[in-house]
């Protein structure tokens, strides 16, 4: 994006900053993965634009849901916020301080405040370390507790997430998926963070265990005043846990609003189509209901379409506007942000399923 190399932006410029206490501000975040060619002389021949100019804020104490289909860049966004993935451009401000300028020791210290809960509890725990070592490592690295107190603290943390503290000498493979995810939560909590990125924390879990982890996360949020960025593709879970929800499509945020507003009256055509796909567990309603089917496939992020990324599949696309000009994410109504040329504060296109289930505009 054009402003990627700009200095720290004027704070008032940033999306949603006017509304109260912002913990994390993401400004025009860009993550491109280079496509290279050549063996000895490697040169860039293109880039996968995983995240292509994302801006939003996370308020202190809230849960911001980040949804989108596979490959839309939501996980990459989460990783880039924590600088696990080096952003190609843009800024991540934590309590007003830019992380991009930090490296080495300073970055490590800052990371104490921001943690992550990973998607795959089987891959995120080192199989060669005991539970005590895994949960105790953050304490050791940051020298948070003296030698004796560390063990006590590990037991407290395990108890907090509902793991029998007497199992601390066991290895991860001796636990179930749900238990492992709890251990991952305990590790994240060890450094007493304020902000936790939950990167699809339940999608790898058995359905019967999901509710437990969701409830645990909510309980911990209440207890410690945590702020979550909750990344998921399960729309009903996001609806349950989030205060506000951001919808991503092909590396960009298309809509951001309060939970009830977004689910009640989605404005962006993509959000409308996406929400119509949520199954309703009531056979009578489900039978009458029709999901909107979008034409075509998601374009490749290595070669995204010009203008609005969604215009190739959008039923209300206007030639000469949507395929040329990139829509800005703007506050259409107070607290309701959308990036669509056709959404106005008074009206927006209504999408419904047509004859062949394909998306069409409601007259």
């Amino acid at each position: 994006m054009s402003t990627a190399s700009a200095a720290v932006p004027d704070a008032t410029d940033t999306v949603g900053l006017a509304n109260g206490d912002n913990l994390v501000t993401i400004d025009d975040l860009v993550v491109h993965f280079p496509i290279t060619s050549g063996i000895v002389f490697r040169h860039k021949i293109g880039a996968v634009r995983a995240v292509d100019g994302v801006s939003f804020t996370v308020k202190r104490g809230e849960t911001l849901g980040l949804v989108g289909e596979s490959g839309c860049g939501k996980s990459t966004t989460g990783k880039a916020i924590l600088h696990l993935e080096k952003p190609t451009g843009g800024h991540v401000l934590y309590e007003g301080a830019d992380l991009a300028h930090l490296s080495g020791r300073a970055l490590r210290r800052q990371r104490r405040r921001m943690q992550m809960i990973f998607q795959d509890p089987y891959a995120s725990l080192n199989s060669r370390m005991t539970i005590a070592d895994i949960v105790g490592e953050p304490l050791l690295v940051h020298k948070l507790y003296p030698r004796g107190g560390r063990n006590q603290r590990v037991r407290e943390l395990l108890e907090l997430v509902g793991i029998n503290p007497n199992t601390l000498n066991r290895y991860p493979h001796e636990f179930s998926g749900g238990q492992r995810q709890r251990i991952g939560v305990a590790r994240a909590l060890a450094v007493e963070p304020n902000f936790i990125v939950c990167d699809e924390p339940i999608s790898a879990l058995d359905v019967s265990i999901r509710a437990q982890i969701i409830n645990l996360l909510q309980r911990l949020q209440g207890e410690f005043g945590l702020t979550y960025l909750f990344i998921a593709h399960d729309l009903s879970v996001v609806r349950h846990i989030s205060d506000r929800i951001a919808v991503m499509y092909l590396g960009r945020i298309v809509e951001l609003a309060e939970n009830a507003v977004l689910y009640g009256a989605p404005m962006h055509p993509y959000t409308q189509a996406l929400l119509s796909a949520v199954p309703i567990p009531d056979p009578e309603v489900e039978e009458k209901r029709r999901a909107v089917v979008l034409r075509g496939d998601v374009p490749s992020p290595a070669d995204p379409p010009p203008g609005c990324h969604f215009h190739t599949r959008c039923p209300v696309m206007e030639e000469g506007l949507c395929d040329v000009e990139v829509p800005r994410l703007r506050e259409v109504r107070p607290g309701h942000w959308a990036s669509c040329h056709l959404v106005a504060d008074t009206s927006y296109p209504h999408i419904r399923a047509g004859e062949d289930d394909c998306a069409e505009v409601e007259a």
Partner: protein, 332 residues
């Protein structure tokens, strides 16, 4: 607040019940024993070690255990050679040669007969084991250290470091290593230490490649990202999180590598570039005895057998370890 999916009348009760259960214990599997497990004075539950599991799987592989026994015997003989060898390996005995100056066959004095200079073959074989094992282990240790250092840095730091190291590996691998070793040994005067250095130097490439490949896959695992988030330094991530996952390939490739190295040493000794006489070495004994293979075949057969057994034993143990460390990749 419990998680209730919208519009699902059936799920609500179940979830509510589960939520109540969560406050006390967590997993259903634990619930029944919760009272016992959670009491603070209950004994800390011990795990079964990884090494114990590996050993249990290894033990079931009969060939690998046989290889281990052979190696144990070899090591024992090599260490205790000065005490258990019946004769001095360099002493030339008058009764060790026939009237025509030919080596004698086995007798009660010379169990395996003598060589062309009238020296006791069994004693020489025993001392030869020392040379083979010392070079096999030391040269391989050197190759291992170089390979792990290069492979780890190349795989972990990527970028230009990786390009430099891995292209250098490619160049090394493109060299005919026997020729390189022969050239190196002839330039530097052959001795035990020079041999160790040269063999280690020409053999670091396979280990580098193996480690590099492993590190590439391990560094992308989520637990490495988690360690980074935790605040671990690069050194700590390498040492605590990546290196422990390399133990299996390191052990397997070391045992397989020792077999190759023993063979390499025998080859160099055979062409006269190994350990210099009168120190006995198996390869050199074969070279000395081959002119007499018709009249005194034992001069070639016994050292040949020793080399074969050693190489076979290390290969069997290496294969067995590979299977034991990675039960999913068992070929049987």
């Amino acid at each position: 607040m419990s998680y209730v999916p919208p519009h699902d009348p059936f799920a609500a009760d179940e979830f509510a019940a589960r939520e109540r259960a969560i406050d006390v214990v967590v997993d259903e599997s634990m619930a029944s024993q919760a009272g016992v497990l959670w009491s603070p004075d209950a004994a800390i539950i011990e795990h079964k070690g990884t090494w114990q599991e590996v050993w249990e799987r290894f033990r079931k592989d009969k060939f690998a255990v046989m290889g281990l026994v052979v190696i144990a015997i070899l090591v024992f003989v090599a260490i205790t050679a000065p005490w258990i060898a019946p004769h001095d390996p360099t002493a030339q005995y008058d009764d060790g040669l026939t009237m025509q100056g030919m080596p004698v066959g086995s007798s009660s004095k010379f169990l395996l007969g003598t060589d062309t200079l009238g020296r006791d073959l069994l004693s020489r074989l025993m001392y030869g084991a020392r040379v083979s094992l010392v070079i096999g282990i030391m040269a391989n240790g050197l190759a291992l250290i170089l390979g792990v250092i290069f492979g780890l840095t190349a795989g972990f730091f990527r970028g230009s470091t990786e390009t430099a190291v891995m292209r250098a590996t490619d160049v090394m691998m493109a060299f005919p290593i026997y020729l390189l070793a022969v050239a190196l040994v002839s330039v530097l005067k052959p001795s035990l230490w020079i041999l160790i250095f040269v063999i280690g130097f020409v053999y670091w490439t396979p280990m580098t490649r193996v480690i590099h490949g492993e590190v590439l896959s391990i560094r992308e695992k989520e637990f490495v990202a988690a360690a980074r988030l935790t605040g671990c330094s690069n050194g700590r991530i390498l040492y605590r999180h990546i290196l422990p996952h390399l133990v299996a390939p390191i052990i397997v490739y070391t045992s397989l590598g020792i077999a190759t190295t023993v063979l390499f040493e025998a080859t160099l000794s055979y062409i006269g570039l190994g350990v210099q006489p009168p120190t006995p070495s198996w390869g050199q004994m074969i070279a000395d005895g081959q002119n007499y293979y018709l009249s005194a075949p034992h001069l070639v057969i016994y050292p040949g057998l020793c080399i074969m057994l050693t190489v076979l034993a290390f290969n069997l143990v290496g294969d067995g370890l590979r299977d034991a460390f990675d039960p999913q990749q068992r070929r049987r």
